[in-house]
Symmetry: C2
Subunit: 384 residues, 2 copies
């Protein structure tokens, strides 16, 4: 197949920042892209060969986009799966496959899938309703604290809540859910696995999510994770096991816990480029976005190792600011060696909206970590 | 000044591969861009906020583009300088300035400029006509061999010829020219200097052009150059001296000869991102394209040092092939660690047309050099 400066067309469902960063790679290779997003202001409106405004959840809209391209991929999981299934039946290449997307779309099914495939995961129980869960809590058969998760529609921390007392249940939506044992973990880790259509597989190094000591919010994604090599190897092995179980094509970001006893438990997965891999643009031989393109087009996978240590800091909208975005002190952080801001191209900031990220690279991880803190303390995403 | 996701607009004259690679950076920073190029098929037609088809040499067309933007830059020198002068007079920021562009546009003036500023350059004589040059050769006052250069309009080896015997003069165009002493050089080197509007200056490491042993064609651009540190330091010093003399804003690529006696002689300059800096996308902390954007917007300059050794191989159209391009064996080279092809997005190949480049990076320079040769021997730019 000739992808380069040819008539070949790649469709991308979703035009957010992940799509935008994919387009950097398709432009580098001069691969034609058709992008669909509901917003006319989507970050991917530039850089695509053609940009279409439309609903990702509408059967006909997704079908129409799919029928115009040779291979179809996603940058967001929440798309019309029936349309993808129809397209696949008609012979269209859809990566990740609708089957993979369906398996992942429900957190209860995800957990069952891990259990069926002997993949370690935190113990859990499934409930079709909040009502059913409440009954079990009230009769004492579920111990608190536990982690409540809505099985569908969760995003960026929505749909997840620690339940410490019965009253905490009152604020939760009446929906299908799971109750998961709360794991006192040492580290939250992630491994990105790339798998091509021909079955070639590579894992990226293990990254570590460093949390703010009080706010319980991820502050830094750090590559490589500051963990024992044995634990890192185990995490990569388990990520591979997950990847092979899903039999996916493209990237699979596998989020995991490292327990106090150095067990690895799989938390959840995303079948696409992932926030935990943004560091790779500057730090890795092959960025996760290029790797995703390579994998879904069945090109040889690139080297997943790092040139230098990398740390990623998310740029989210400050609380108390809504309106046209200003990146306060961005010039100050750009004056520091090895600091690269990525601005996603959303004009309006809102509290906690993901507006960009900053990558810090350095030969020395501890130097990078110091700089990351300086970056975090300097730049602010506010409104005019 | 707020450049990021703001109303600020950067104009770029020229939409070729250099413009395309600049747009990767303006997209990363979400800076709005208006691009002008004569071809509707220009590589920069995607990724710009707005793309305009029009002549770069037409006064009014350039003026109109300039009037719509806040800062104006170029990716090719051959643009209407009168329009830039008008724009600058009216207060528009134009980087590089029309003054710099004018100084550089004539190779005779460039040589005189080096002489006036005590910048070492190969001895030369200027002639208003080929006729005048011929007279001097015939009367024996210019010894052969020497290098003939047209003072204007030369590009990629056009407008340069080694004259070994009187008959060689017959094929040359009747135009203003210089006759330059032929320098038996050890190495052809280049240094890219970044200089921001506020005067901050940084140099990139010295790169080396490695020539094919027989064909006398550059095969590899190698960073860092395999030369003594003392010579490298001298080359960077002289590049700085050239940069300060021009007082330019943006990048200045300074091409130099290292003579048999380790003298450094300045050959010529380009006030923009340059082929000799393409390796920086993968190898450097800050790519030359990001650096150009930082410099012209008076942002802090980024770190110019390298993460890893980098080698660049140009992809030019094979002789004997014209038509819709095919990158033969591109998948084979993508299977090698540290190999990144850049496809410029020109649908039609022609003999010697610059169609792309490949960067090879490695912790070990000698390993990179081996891989570069393998790449060179594998990929071919042919037509369907």
């Amino acid at each position: 197949m000739n992808y380069f400066s040819s008539d070949f067309k790649l469709g991308i469902l979703g035009g957010g920042q992940l799509g935008k960063m994919m387009l950097t790679e398709t432009r580098k290779f001069d691969i034609q892209t058709y992008v669909l997003d509901p917003s006319a202001e989507a970050p991917s409106q530039y850089g695509a060969t053609k940009f279409f405004q439309g609903s990702l959840n509408d059967y006909q809209t997704v079908l129409d986009l799919g029928n115009q391209v040779d291979v179809l991929t996603i940058e967001i999981e929440n798309v019309n799966l029936e349309a993808l299934e129809t397209l696949e039946k008609e012979g269209k290449k859809v990566f990740p496959s609708p089957k993979t997307l369906r398996l992942i779309s429900n957190k209860g099914n995800q957990k069952d899938f891990y259990t069926q495939h002997n993949i370690p995961t935190a113990p859990y129980q499934r409930f079709l309703t909040l009502f059913a869960l409440k009954a079990e809590v009230v009769n004492g058969s579920i111990a608190m604290p536990f982690v409540w998760k809505a099985t569908e529609g969760g995003y960026d921390g929505n749909g997840v809540k620690v339940v410490r007392k019965i009253e905490d249940l009152d604020a939760l939506p009446e929906t299908e859910c799971i109750a998961e044992n709360m794991i006192p973990f040492k580290n939250e880790l992630a491994v990105i696995v790339a798998r091509s259509a021909s079955g070639e597989i590579k894992t990226y190094p293990v990254v570590e999510m460093e949390f703010h000591p009080e706010a319980n919010q991820v502050e830094y994604v750090i590559c490589p994770a500051r963990i024992d090599e044995a634990v890192a190897n185990k995490a990569r092995e388990i990520a591979l096991q997950v990847s092979e179980a899903y039999n996916h094509v493209g990237l699979l970001a596998v989020e995991m816990f490292q327990t106090q006893n150095d067990e690895i438990l799989v938390n959840e997965v995303a079948p696409r480029p992932h926030n935990s891999g943004h560091y790779s643009i500057e730090a890795s031989y092959t960025s996760q976005f290029e790797q995703h393109i390579r994998a879904i087009l069945n090109l040889p996978l690139g080297n997943t190792e790092s040139k230098v240590a990398g740390i990623m800091v998310n740029l989210v909208g400050e609380e108390g600011y809504t309106g046209q975005v200003v990146y306060e002190n961005i010039e100050q952080i750009m004056a520091i060696d090895g600091v690269t801001p990525h601005i996603y191209g959303k004009r309006e900031t809102r509290p906690f909206r993901k507006m960009g990220h900053v990558t810090i690279v350095n030969q020395n991880m501890y130097e990078a970590r110091k700089v990351a803190q300086q970056v975090k303390e300097t730049i602010r995403v506010i409104a005019k």
